[in-house]
Amino acid sequence: MINGDKREDEVRKTLELLNGIEPVPPPPFLAGNVMQALARQRGGRAPNISRGFRFAVAGLVALAALNVLTIVHAGTGAGAQASVPSAAADSLARDYRLTLEDYQSVE
């Protein structure tokens, strides 16, 4: 069959290209680029830490800071907040004669 022969011929010619791959000269600036990259690396740049690791550390620091702020805020708020229920409790205690003075007077 003509088509079958043509196809085989094309396959053979394509496969033959594998045997004819010529080496390509490297770019003239390759060695220079390598030396420059090496100089940058040795020049004390920050080590190439992965972006994912940096994000993870930043996230942990942010979380820790948030926790500290929450605790500090809760601590400073507690004093102010406590005065409200404390005043109400004092008032209640006086109404029902449950203050320390009332207790001591009974004794």
Binding site: K6, K13, L17, L18, I21, E22, L30, A31, V34, L38
Partner: protein, 190 residues
């Protein structure tokens, strides 16, 4: 300078010695990368990375193989890493294109295959390398190291860290698969 001397000089921080190493091996490294990637720009980038890796890892070179074998191994490994990365990127781009039809790589790079093949064979070259791209990684690496880099079975076995019979088997399967895929291609396109 002998390899052993060169290695000692590079490890001790002699940058001139490292430059000599780069100049000696740049042709082989560049072509090894080009054979796997068949894209000049990618091969340049990866070749650069290979030499940086060589510099950083030379202390770990135990000398149980030739220096050239060790360097080839790094070159093939980094080239295949890029191939895998591009495949993942391509898969993501398919999803991305559903939301942004304009997204994607600019099409001005010549992707018709290896520049080491005659220009008049450009179309056939594109078909060949497109088909090679679809081979399993180890078959692709073995076939190209043999046909394009001209390494012996023994050298390939050292680069890929497999036995010589395994290399023979990989190359045989690569050729068989290549032939079959090309047959299918030309059946549909003649």
């Amino acid at each position: 300078m002998e390899d052993r001397e060169l290695i000692q000089e590079v490890i001790s921080g002699n940058t001139s010695a490292f430059r000599s190493l780069v100049e000696e091996y740049q042709g082989r490294v560049f072509n090894a990368c080009l054979n796997v990637l068949h894209d000049r720009e990618d091969a340049e980038d990866v070749a650069q990375e290979v030499f940086i890796e060589v510099f950083n890892s030379l202390r770990t070179f135990r000398g149980d193989s030739k220096l050239s074998t060790w360097i080839y191994r790094i070159a093939v490994s980094k080239s295949l890493d890029l191939v895998r990365w591009k495949k993942r990127k391509k898969r993501f781009a398919v999803v991305q294109s559903l939301f942004d039809p304009d997204a994607g790589e600019p099409e001005d790079r010549d992707r018709s295959g290896h520049p080491g093949i005659r220009l008049e064979e450009k179309e056939r070259r594109a078909v060949l390398f497109d088909t090679i791209d679809r081979l399993a990684e180890n078959q692709r690496a073995a076939l190209l190291l043999y046909c394009a880099d001209g390494l012996s079975y023994k050298e390939i076995s050292e680069v890929l860290r497999i036995s010589v019979p395994a290399v023979e088997s990989l190359i045989f399967r690569a050729r068989t698969t290549l032939k079959k895929k090309l047959n299918d291609y030309y059946t549909d396109n003649l």
